[in-house]
C-alpha cells in the first residue's frame, strides 16, 4: 500500500520497465497505479470533507478505458454519482485531487479537460444520460466525439452499475434513431494515411514528428474505431478493444481474423516504444529505426486496420440499408 503520490511515482519508476514489454502486465500495472492514486485521493477527501454523499464510480476513458495504455499516457477520467446535483461539488473536489495525484504519479493532464475535475465529466447518472441524449440529438462532429469518449469507459473504483446504466440508456436511444449509427461512422471515417501509392511508409510532416510514423493515428485508431462502432451497434458495454473482439465475434464473425492483427499491433507498439521518454513521443515511431521486415510488418498492420474499418462500415450501412 502507498500513502503518497510520490511513493507511487517511485514505484512506477522502479517497476515500469519490467512490465513494459507485455501489454497485459503493463495495463494491469497502470490500473494498479491509478487505483492506488484514487485511494489516496479518496482518503484525503474523506478526511477533509467526510464520507461520499452518494454512491459513485470513478471511471477511466480513452486508452486507459480501453485497457490499451502504452508506457506513457495522459489522464482521461470521470465520476458518475447516484444522487442529485447538489452533491456534485464533493465529487468535483475528489476529481481535482485525483487529477493532481495522477499528474504527480506520471499521467499528463488532459489537454481536452476530459477529467473528473471538469463538471462536464463529473455528473449524476441522470445528468450523464441527459447529456448523452443532447450529444446524440445534436449529432455534430464534436458532440459525437464526446459521446464516443464516454462510451470507451471502464469503472476503476466504485459502483460499476452506475456507468452501465448510462451506457444502456444510450443504446436504447441509438436503437430509436438508427441513422445515428451512420453519423457515428462518418465521425470516424478519417484515417490518417500511412502507406503511399508506391507502398512506402508515409512519415509525418508535422514539426517535431518529421520522419516518424504516428502509430496511434495511422495504425491503431482504425481498429479501435471499427470495434467501437460494432459495439455500439450491438449494445456491448465493454470498452477494451480486445474484449470487444471477444464479445462481438459471434455477431460479426468477420472480425475474428483481425483480432490477432490487433494484438500484434499492441505488441509491435510496445516493442518499439517502451523506451519513449514522454507521452508525446510514445506514439511516434521513427521509420529509420525499423528493419525492412519490420516495415513490412507495420504496413501490413496498417492495411488490415483500414480493411477492418471499411468492412465494419459497410456492414453497418448494409444493416441500416443506407
Amino acid at each position: 500500500m502507498f500513502n503518497t503520490y510520490e511513493g507511487l511515482k517511485q514505484w512506477r519508476k522502479d517497476t515500469i520497465r519490467s512490465v513494459a514489454d507485455d501489454h497485459f502486465q503493463l495495463n494491469a500495472f497502470h490500473d494498479q497505479l491509478m487505483y492506488q492514486t484514487v485511494t489516496i485521493a479518496m482518503d484525503k477527501i474523506e478526511r477533509e470533507q467526510g464520507n461520499p454523499p452518494a454512491p459513485f464510480a470513478f471511471f477511466v476513458m480513452g486508452s486507459a478505458g480501453r485497457f490499451e495504455q502504452s508506457v506513457w499516457s495522459d489522464q482521461d477520467h470521470g465520476i458518475v454519482f447516484d444522487g442529485n446535483e447538489n452533491v456534485q461539488h464533493y465529487f468535483l473536489n475528489l476529481g481535482e485531487e485525483v487529477s493532481r495525484g495522477l499528474a504527480v504519479v506520471g499521467y499528463e493532464w488532459c489537454e481536452g479537460q476530459v477529467m473528473a475535475s471538469n463538471p462536464m465529466w463529473c455528473r449524476s447518472t441522470v445528468s450523464f444520460q441527459a447529456q448523452n441524449s443532447d450529444w446524440l440529438d445534436e449529432a455534430s462532429w464534436q458532440s459525437l466525439r464526446n459521446f464516443s469518449i464516454l462510451f470507451d469507459s471502464r469503472v476503476l473504483y466504485g459502483k460499476e452499475e452506475l456507468l452501465e446504466r448510462v451506457k444502456h440508456e444510450a443504446f436504447s436511444r441509438l436503437e430509436k434513431h438508427p441513422s445515428l449509427y451512420a453519423r457515428l461512422v462518418d465521425n470516424f471515417e478519417f484515417i490518417k494515411k500511412g502507406v503511399g501509392v508506391f507502398g512506402q511508409l508515409l512519415p509525418d510532416q508535422r514539426q517535431g514528428m518529421k520522419g516518424d510514423i504516428h502509430l496511434k493515428e495511422t495504425a491503431y485508431f482504425p481498429y479501435v474505431n471499427a470495434l467501437r462502432i460494432l459495439a455500439l451497434r450491438s449494445g456491448t458495454t465493454a470498452a477494451p478493444t480486445i474484449s470487444r473482439f471477444e464479445a462481438l465475434k459471434d455477431t460479426y464473425p468477420f472480425i475474428v481474423e483481425y483480432e490477432k492483427d490487433f494484438r500484434h499491433l499492441l505488441d509491435f507498439r510496445l516493442r518499439f516504444r517502451q523506451g519513449a521518454e514522454n507521452y508525446e513521443k510514445v506514439h511516434l515511431l521513427p521509420i529509420d529505426h525499423l528493419s525492412k521486415e519490420e516495415k513490412l510488418e507495420l504496413k501490413y498492420l496498417i492495411k488490415r486496420g483500414k480493411q477492418l474499418f471499411a468492412k465494419s462500415k459497410s456492414i453497418v450501412r448494409k444493416e441500416l440499408k443506407l
Binding site: M61, S63, D76, E111, R145, I149, F190, K192, K216, V224
Partner: protein, 420 residues
C-alpha cells in the same frame, strides 16, 4: 508582315495574359471569402487545375470546340500544334492560347461550388471531365459554329459559355456535396461562415476587374477601328454600376453596406456585361451593371434560404447574373452594333432576340448542370464520397489534403483525439 496582323496578334497575346492573370484574382477572391484553414488549398488547387485544363484543352478541348464537326461538336485539331500562320486574322497558336485561358476561367468558376469540403482527387477528375465533355460542347454550340451560333445567339465574351457553364457545374457540385459543417442549424436557419480576409477578396475582385479587359475587350480579336476601347468602356461602366447597385441594395434592405456583397456586385456587373459589351450603348451598360449588382444580392439570399451552401457566391455572381447578362442583349442590343443576331426589344427588334437568348441560356444551363450532376454523382459513388471526412473538413483542407497550412504561424494542427 502586315502591321495590323502583328498588332492584332500582339493585342490578343496581351489579353491572354490578362485573362490568365484572372486566376490570381480568383485565388484571392476565393481564399479571402473562405476560412484560413483552407487558404493554401484554394491557392494550390487553382494553379494545379489550371495545369490540368491546359493539357486537356491542348489534347482535345480545342479540337472539340473549333475542329471540323457538326452542329453539336467539333472533332479535329486534337493535340494542337499548328505553327503556320495565314498572314491575316490571328495566328492559330495565339487564338488557341486565348481560348485556353477562357476554358480555365470556366473551370475555376465551377470549382467555387467545391469550396472548403471537396476531396482533392475530385478536383483532378472533374477538371479532366469538365474540360472534355462540358465546356467544349457549349463553347462549340455558341462559338465554334454550333447550332446556337447559327441561331444568332449573342454572347460576345462568354456570359453563357464561360460564366453560366461554370456556375451550372458549381450548382451541381454544391448540391451533391451538401452544405459545409456548421452552415445550417437544425431548425433550418443559416449561419454566416465569414471569409477570413475581406482585403484579399477586394484585391481579388480588382485583379479580376483588370483581367476582364482582356476577357471582354480581347474578344474583339483584333485592333481594327480600336473597337476594343468601346468594349472596355462598357465593361468599366457595368462593373462600377454593379458595385453601386449591390451596395445600395444591401444597404436599403439590411441597413448595412455589407462589403462582400458590394464586392460581388462589382463582379456581377462584369459578368452581366460580358455577353453584351459589344452590342449595347454605354447607358445600357450602366443599367445592365446596376441590375446585375442588385440581382446578386437577392440571388445570394435566395440560395441561402434554399439551403444551397454557395461558399463564394459563384452561383449568384456567375449563374444568376450570367443569365441576366445573356438576356440583356435581347433588350438592349442596338441595330448598329448587333453584328450577330438581331437588335433587342428596346430597339424595335421585338422579342425575337430575347427568345434566342433565352433558348441559349436554357439549353446551355441545363446541359452543363445535368452532365455535371451525372459526372459528380458517379464520382461520388466511385470514390466513396466526393467530400472529405468530417474530421478533415474541421481540421481544414490545407492540412488534410496538402500536409501544411497556408498560414502556418496562425494555425496549429489539431491532434486527432479518437477516444479522449
Amino acid at each position: 508582315m502586315d502591321a495590323t496582323f502583328l498588332m492584332n496578334n500582339l493585342w490578343i497575346v496581351v489579353c491572354t495574359v490578362l485573362v490568365l492573370l484572372m486566376q490570381g484574382g480568383f485565388i484571392l477572391l476565393e481564399a479571402g471569402s473562405t476560412r484560413m484553414k483552407n487558404a493554401g488549398h484554394i491557392a494550390g488547387k487553382t494553379v494545379f487545375t489550371v495545369g490540368i485544363v491546359s493539357l486537356v484543352f491542348w489534347a482535345v478541348g480545342y479540337g472539340l470546340i473549333y475542329g471540323e464537326g457538326n452542329a453539336f461538336i467539333g472533332f479535329s485539331n486534337f493535340f494542337y500544334g499548328d505553327a503556320t500562320t495565314m498572314g491575316e486574322g490571328l495566328a492559330g497558336s495565339v487564338d488557341f492560347m486565348f481560348q485556353l485561358a477562357f476554358a480555365a476561367i470556366a473551370m475555376t468558376i465551377a470549382f467555387g461550388g467545391f469550396a472548403e469540403r471537396a476531396k482533392l482527387i475530385g478536383y483532378v477528375i472533374f477538371a479532366i471531365l469538365f474540360s472534355i465533355v462540358i465546356y467544349p460542347v457549349i463553347a462549340h454550340w455558341i462559338w465554334g459554329g454550333g447550332w446556337l451560333g447559327e441561331h444568332g445567339k449573342q454572347d460576345f465574351a462568354g456570359s453563357t459559355v464561360v460564366h453560366l457553364t461554370g456556375a451550372a457545374a458549381a450548382l451541381a457540385a454544391t448540391m451533391i456535396l451538401k452544405p459545409r459543417i456548421g452552415k445550417y442549424n437544425k431548425d433550418g436557419s443559416s449561419n454566416e461562415i465569414a471569409g477570413h480576409n475581406q482585403v484579399f477578396t477586394a484585391l481579388g475582385v480588382l485583379l479580376l476587374w483588370v483581367g476582364w479587359f482582356g476577357f471582354n475587350a480581347g474578344s474583339t480579336f483584333g485592333v481594327e477601328d480600336a473597337f476594343f476601347g468601346y468594349v472596355a468602356l462598357n465593361t468599366q461602366l457595368a462593373a462600377g454600376a454593379g458595385a453601386i447597385g449591390a451596395m445600395l441594395m444591401v444597404w436599403a434592405v439590411t441597413g448595412k453596406a455589407d462589403v462582400p456583397t458590394t464586392l460581388n456586385g462589382a463582379l456581377a456587373g462584369l459578368v452581366a456585361i460580358t455577353a453584351s459589351c459589344a452590342f449595347v450603348e454605354p447607358w445600357a451598360a450602366v443599367i445592365i451593371g446596376l441590375v446585375g449588382g442588385a440581382f446578386v444580392f437577392f440571388s445570394m439570399r435566395f440560395f441561402d434560404k434554399r439551403k444551397i451552401d454557395d461558399p463564394i457566391f459563384a452561383l449568384s455572381v456567375h449563374g444568376t447574373v450570367g443569365i441576366w447578362g445573356t438576356l440583356s442583349n435581347g433588350l438592349f442590343a442596338t441595330p448598329e452594333l448587333a453584328t450577330v443576331g438581331r437588335p433587342g426589344l428596346f430597339y424595335g427588334g421585338g422579342f425575337e432576340q430575347l427568345g434566342v437568348q433565352l433558348l441559349g441560356v436554357v439549353a446551355c444551363g441545363l446541359y452543363a448542370f445535368i452532365v455535371s450532376w451525372i459526372i459528380l454523382k458517379v464520382m461520388d459513388k466511385a470514390m466513396g464520397g466526393l467530400r472529405v471526412t468530417e474530421e478533415e473538413e474541421i481540421m481544414g483542407l490545407d492540412i488534410s489534403e496538402h500536409g501544411g497550412y497556408g498560414y502556418p504561424e496562425n494555425l496549429t494542427r489539431p491532434e486527432s483525439k479518437s477516444g479522449a
